[in-house]
């Protein structure tokens, strides 16, 4: 028994070492993928600037890569499209989201709370094409009819739809932010005679402000990065919009629309990677800021 025991023990040690190495390698892959994405986007993206001056890309006001003779690669209309639709989304989703989160975290209990959170989470997982389809067949005719405009596929429609889509993110993250506020804060307020309402708005909400701001940031990220739904309802004209009822074209939908029709290796093809770069930077920045905000909130409660 002692004779067989030793080699077996050695093989067990070996398996143990190997398992540890495999796990470590797997987890490194995520970092590699993130760097890989950045590398590919940069590598391909910068090739745009062999043909298009970088300033004309960043500050150009016309996006028309197919124009005969002189194609134009101006980022401004696309950035405006993304930012304006996202702004409308946040105007809708931030107040509604925070109000809902306060209710869910401070008032709802038991199965009502679980059911509400589940529905919200379920909605967060809805395929964006289905939402885009809903925007196309319901929201668009509704907008066209209500405001007497020829087409309901416009900035307003995109903004409203994005508002719905970022709502679950804002609700969930705000709810988490409110829930990590220690119970002693509330009890102290109650002890001074504050009502639950006063406590929620004067004590808990201010204490959770970094976390709430993180929720808004993540909602912003979700709206800027959304592709399919926005592409289906925004009208997709790459112009600088002058009213809520003008069609817009976002950065994301430009990539989705044009990647299929641009010739591999052309300036047009590479310019879409440059757009990807812009999205990547926005998304990464948003995430890092949100992350540090959440950390800051948690830290503020530890003595």
């Amino acid at each position: 028994m002692a004779g067989t025991g030793r080699p077996r023990f050695r093989s067990r040690k070996l398996t143990d070492k190997a398992a540890g190495a495999v796990f470590r390698a797997s987890s490194l892959l995520s970092a590699v993928v993130l760097l890989g994405i950045l590398l590919f986007l940069l590598l391909y993206g910068v090739r745009t600037f062999r043909e298009v001056p970088i300033l004309r890309f960043l500050f150009g006001t016309v996006w028309n890569p197919d124009a005969y003779g002189e194609p134009a690669y101006g980022l401004i209309p696309l950035v405006l499209g993304s930012l304006l639709s996202t702004a409308i989304a946040l105007i809708i989703a931030v107040p509604l989201g925070i109000a809902s989160a306060i209710l869910i975290s401070e008032r709802l209990k038991g199965w009502v709370r679980v059911a509400t959170k589940t529905l919200v989470e379920l909605f967060a997982g809805f395929p964006s094409v289905v939402l885009g389809f809903f925007g196309l067949v319901v929201l668009a005719p509704f907008i066209a009819h209500t405001f007497h405009v020829p087409s309901g596929l416009n900035l307003l429609n995109a903004g409203v739809l994005l508002g719905f889509m970022s709502l679950p993110t804002i609700i969930s993250v705000s709810d988490d932010a409110l829930r990590v506020v220690p119970h002693s804060y509330r009890e102290a307020a109650y002890a001074l005679g504050a009502t639950p309402w006063t406590t929620a708005f004067r004590i808990v909400l201010p204490a959770a402000r970094s976390g709430i701001l993180a929720a808004v940031m993540l909602g912003f990220g979700r709206a800027v990065g959304e592709t399919m739904a926005v592409m289906m309802v925004a009208g997709n004209a790459a112009i600088i919009p002058h009213s809520l009822f003008d069609p817009i074209r976002t950065i994301t939908s430009t990539i989705a629309i044009e990647l299929g029709e641009s010739a591999f290796g052309s300036a047009h093809y590479y310019s879409l990677f440059a757009l990807g770069c812009v999205l990547f930077i926005i998304a990464l920045g948003t995430n890092l800021v949100a992350e540090s905000l959440i950390k800051r909130e948690k830290r503020s409660f530890t003595l």
């Binding site: 143990d16 987890s27 209710l103 990547f280």
Partner: protein
């Protein structure tokens, strides 16, 4: 002092009123949102349920997609989701094991965690671009189920890591210590005393990832999905049809858009049904495991 009392009383009453009814006012937007979700669901069902039949589910599209069913899309979506999981589940679970059991609290670990969270926030269309550059072009996998599956796998990897890590670190340290005290190696302790108990939580995460992966369109758009193909995919290098892209194509690309609208509604319902099926199973699973976690004292 007495002169102030009525004013104070009024203020107190107002505060009480706000506290009693204010929360109900907050419930209005939330209720409106929930009603919107239910309305949308009902609207899709009312318009699409009539199209759903056994033949719709099992036939290929016919006559320029104006008739017939969506069988190739169902097959494509199921296959491409499966390929993505073959890639992301092992790597995701391994990463989660490393992060919760092995990772030292240092700069490198913080970097890895931060990368994972960042990956989760990257727009899906950027994954699509990366898939085109890496899998389709650089690795020469072409437009295929494999390219699309790997792209989706990269996308759902951070979701799987996050839920799996949560499930694994919820197992109390005493479980590991019990095994280690009997002379097991670290891996044996994890294998026999941690993973079996973390399994339900890990599975919940995988089911949620399946639901969300099935509905994704942007990552597969340029890596292998196709508008129409007569053949079911017969290898990993085939192009394929998929439910979300089919819905998008019918709704916005088809030249007889109004004529195919009923089929679009039907496709939307089938896609939603798949997504909700996995979501609901995951939720039920989570509820049951939450109440079954008896070791939590």
């Amino acid at each position: 002092m007495t002169g102030h009392e009525p004013a104070q009383g009024r203020r107190l009453r107002r505060t009480r009123f706000a506290s009693n009814y204010g929360f109900w006012a907050l419930g209005i937007p939330l209720a409106a949102f929930l009603v919107f979700i239910v309305y949308m669901f009902a609207y899709l069902l009312r318009n699409g349920l009539g199209v759903i039949s056994w033949r719709f589910l099992t036939q290929p599209p016919l006559n320029g997609m104006t008739e017939g069913g969506i069988w190739p899309c169902i097959v494509g979506t199921v296959l491409v989701t499966f390929v993505s999981l073959v890639f992301s589940v092992p790597i995701g679970v391994f990463s989660a094991i490393y992060l919760s059991e092995y990772a030292p609290a240092n700069f490198a670990t913080r970097g890895i965690r931060s990368s994972i969270r960042s990956l989760a926030g990257i727009p899906s269309i950027v994954y699509g671009l990366f898939g085109v550059a890496l899998f389709v072009s650089a690795m020469k996998l072409g437009l295929s189920i494999l390219s699309s599956g790997l792209t989706l796998g990269l996308m759902n990897l951070p979701w799987i890591i996050a839920t799996a890590e949560e499930a694994i670190s919820a197992i109390p340290g005493s479980f590991r210590e019990g095994a280690l005290a009997l002379g097991t190696t670290k891996w044996e302790a994890i294998r026999h005393n941690v993973l079996p108990y973390a399994f339900p939580g890990i599975l919940t995460g995988i089911l949620l990832a399946v639901a969300r992966t099935m509905g994704e369109t942007a990552p597969i758009l340029f890596t292998g999905v196709t508008y129409y193909t007569r053949q079911l995919p017969n290898s990993l290098s085939s192009k394929f049809m998929a439910l979300p892209y089919h819905l998008f194509a019918l709704a916005t690309q088809h030249d007889q858009m109004m004529k195919v609208r009923p089929i679009a509604f039907g496709t939307a319902i089938v896609l939603l049904a798949f997504v909700l099926l996995f979501d609901v199973v995951a939720f039920v699973f989570r509820l049951r495991t939450a109440s079954a976690n008896k070791w939590q004292v």
